[in-house]
Symmetry: C2
Subunit: 417 residues, 2 copies
């Protein structure tokens, strides 16, 4: 069955705000075998809304209308559905009472325009919204001789998501023919996107019953494999078979291939550190704290990650990681020597098993002919050895810092593995 | 004039990828007085594409079609426009030659399916795409007796944006009646969104000719004021007048109110540090590097920001900021005392004018009855004084870290101002 999601709200037609609920709803709809064929974003004008609703009902079976259920004058989704389907609206007494009770509980007067939220379309089932004042509505009706399922759900994510999960999904499951969806996620680090596609496309395109999506960002590649079948075992077998072949092709680039979810590179690094009973400390110059920030995004990072220093100034490179000032004077702050000294120094100062040192030119200023913007040195030091790599990243300041962070985490992963 | 943006590509109907180009195009269209009334996302199926194109031409004057111009079988935008408008397609000799030259330059053979990119709709103007192999197309035609402007632009952001700016905008400007758009952006820190709206809405809603948008994220509020008039002076006067009234209401919360762009809180902090000829160093525990990362996002941060330490473990709180172990044993790592000691210690160790110390419980684990998840202490130390604040933030791990970072930067701003 085909569906359309319409996000209602003029603020989502500005350059500043985007609908993101639809990503969540899409995942849930796909999960029960429903395809999302169209997404529409429309403003608060009733005429435009009615047009969008009639268009959607002409091309899909299932319509999710998101937003425009609040109490203000701009909230016109109910009226638009009424116009589009010629359904009457009635004010529901139990909902008026619930709104009054809610207002009394918050000790605020109940403004008369709030009563709009008690308006229900003829034949609609009221969907309880425990997280807000506007209830949702479920309509199972006929449009141009075809059965149509229409859901009105509130716009705020904290109301939309639980209401959709608890009120819409169970009702849809009873109607949509059951499909099983098998899923696998693979993640790889530092393989260029074009190379990944050239390597993998000849294989995954032959699996026409598995939907393969590749997402790439700053040295991180995420492959999602989905297969929808009426037979769960067949779906799982197809996904696992393809995953196995892609894993082989990805070789060392692959860092995570768990079941239907996946771990971040920082999680994998922390996992290996735990396994080897090792600890890590970092001394960051050009990344300015980004590596530490990414590692400490993971709850429980403190078991293996001690912390470190953001050695943005040359003085701090000396004070916190013991880099000799004459080394900086001789080779420059951006050099293999200084990266190594940072890695060694931070390891010795903190007593960590592993020390990471990073220095580079993030730009947009500060580049020279010898040391252009994007030049980065990353060093990893242990009691036995210090490894240093030189990289030239392209992109803006943020991009160069993100690629450097990814490369640094990948270096740790490769050495620990 | 009303417009619609259609983003073409099945990957944007998955839970993993979103159209973002449309935000950029919306800003540019608004900038010449064109409203975006609808945005549609549609997959690669030709039938769905034709349906979307015909729907759009029935409700708007200007249609931007983004994506589906590449060489693969899934790239069907040209064919769909041909079907929707009954326009013939011809293979353009000069474009075939250009594709061949491009392939020769890259020393790769020219696959026959690549020639699709040389297909041009009857009556279309070819729009040069210096950043990719698929050119854009501009069609000025009639649909159901109304004039329609249709643009086919490539999907990749690096091709879409420059092509739209250089080829589409100048052509639109010649046709769209000239409007002047005045813009102001105000930013405020640490005022709750609901409070900001209660405070400001009674004023900005009375300026019905100024479009006010409020964006809120983790303690940061951004207000954008737009006014479109045929008379530039009137538009600017209206926006400036409203901005002045909102500035007064925002009092100390306001941190930036520059012309049509705005500075981040980190930029403002660096600006004040420069003005006072002060330097800053940070000692971060629960934020794990996020504060340093946010400051060093700003190019040139090194003039005032020395760096600091990520003191995730108690050992490093002592080693890098001189926090006495018995203080941690007595008061706990999350305490006002330790925050102050971190701020003082990092200032003295680095020789900075100002030292910032942050400690807290970011969760989701590690909270106790006395020290629940979300409890945070932030201290700022100078030679004269140390100020410490206690906060209780709600939210998940990321949210608590983001609010803490924002609060820390705002504390520095308020003390320097």
């Amino acid at each position: 069955m085909k569906s359309e999601i319409i996000a209602v709200g003029s603020e989502m037609l500005t350059p500043y705000r985007q609908d993101t609920n639809s990503l969540y709803l899409t995942e849930k709809l796909n999960g029960i075998g429903v395809t999302v064929a169209f997404k529409t974003i429309v403003g608060d004008r009733k005429k435009d809304l009615v047009n969008s609703i009639r268009t959607a009902l002409g091309r899909v079976d299932i319509l999710v209308l998101m937003g425009g259920l609040g109490p203000t004058e701009d909230d016109r989704t109910r009226e638009a559905v009424s116009d589009a389907l010629s359904l009457k609206i009635r004010r529901e007494g139990t909902l008026v009472a619930a709104l009054a009770a809610r207002a009394a509980q918050w000790r605020i007067p109940l403004p008369s325009n709030n009563l709009k939220q008690a308006d229900v379309l003829d034949g609609a089932v009221i969907l309880t919204n425990p997280n807000g004042s506007a209830p949702g509505q479920w309509i199972d009706t006929t449009f141009e001789d075809h059965r149509k399922l229409i859901m009105l759900v509130p716009g705020p994510p904290s109301e939309c998501k639980p209401l959709f999960d608890e009120e819409c999904l169970p009702r849809l499951r009873e109607i949509v023919p059951p499909r099983f969806i098998a899923k696998r996620t693979l993640r790889a680090a530092m393989i260029p996107e074009s190379q990944a596609d050239k390597l993998l496309a000849p294989v995954y395109t032959t699996y026409t019953d598995v939907e393969t999506t590749i997402l790439a960002h700053a040295g991180d590649i995420q492959l999602t494999l989905l297969c929808s079948k009426s037979n769960p075992e067949v779906a799982q077998r197809r996904v696992d078979e393809l995953a196995g072949r892609l894993e082989e092709l990805l070789e060392d680039w692959l860092y995570s291939s768990g079941g239907d979810s996946s771990d971040s590179l920082a999680q994998i690094v922390l996992y290996y550190l735990g396994l080897r009973q090792s600890t890590l400390a970092v001394a960051e110059s050009c990344t300015g704290g980004m590596i530490a920030e990414r590692i400490t995004q993971v709850s429980g990072a403190s078991r293996s990650f001690l912390g470190g220093a953001v050695v943005y100034s040359d003085t701090l490179k000396h004070a916190f990681a013991g880099v000799p000032p004459q080394m900086i004077a001789e080779h420059g702050a951006v050099s293999a020597q200084v990266a190594k000294a940072l890695a060694n120094g931070i390891r010795l100062r903190t007593g960590a098993t592993l020390g990471l040192g990073v220095t580079g030119v993030a730009g947009p200023t500060g580049g020279t002919e010898d040391k252009p913007v994007g030049l980065v040195y990353i060093a990893l030091s242990s009691a036995e050895d210090t490894e240093v790599i030189e990289k030239h990243f392209r992109g803006d300041r943020l991009g160069i810092r993100e690629w450097t962070t990814q490369q640094a985490l990948d270096l740790i992963r490769r050495i620990l593995r």
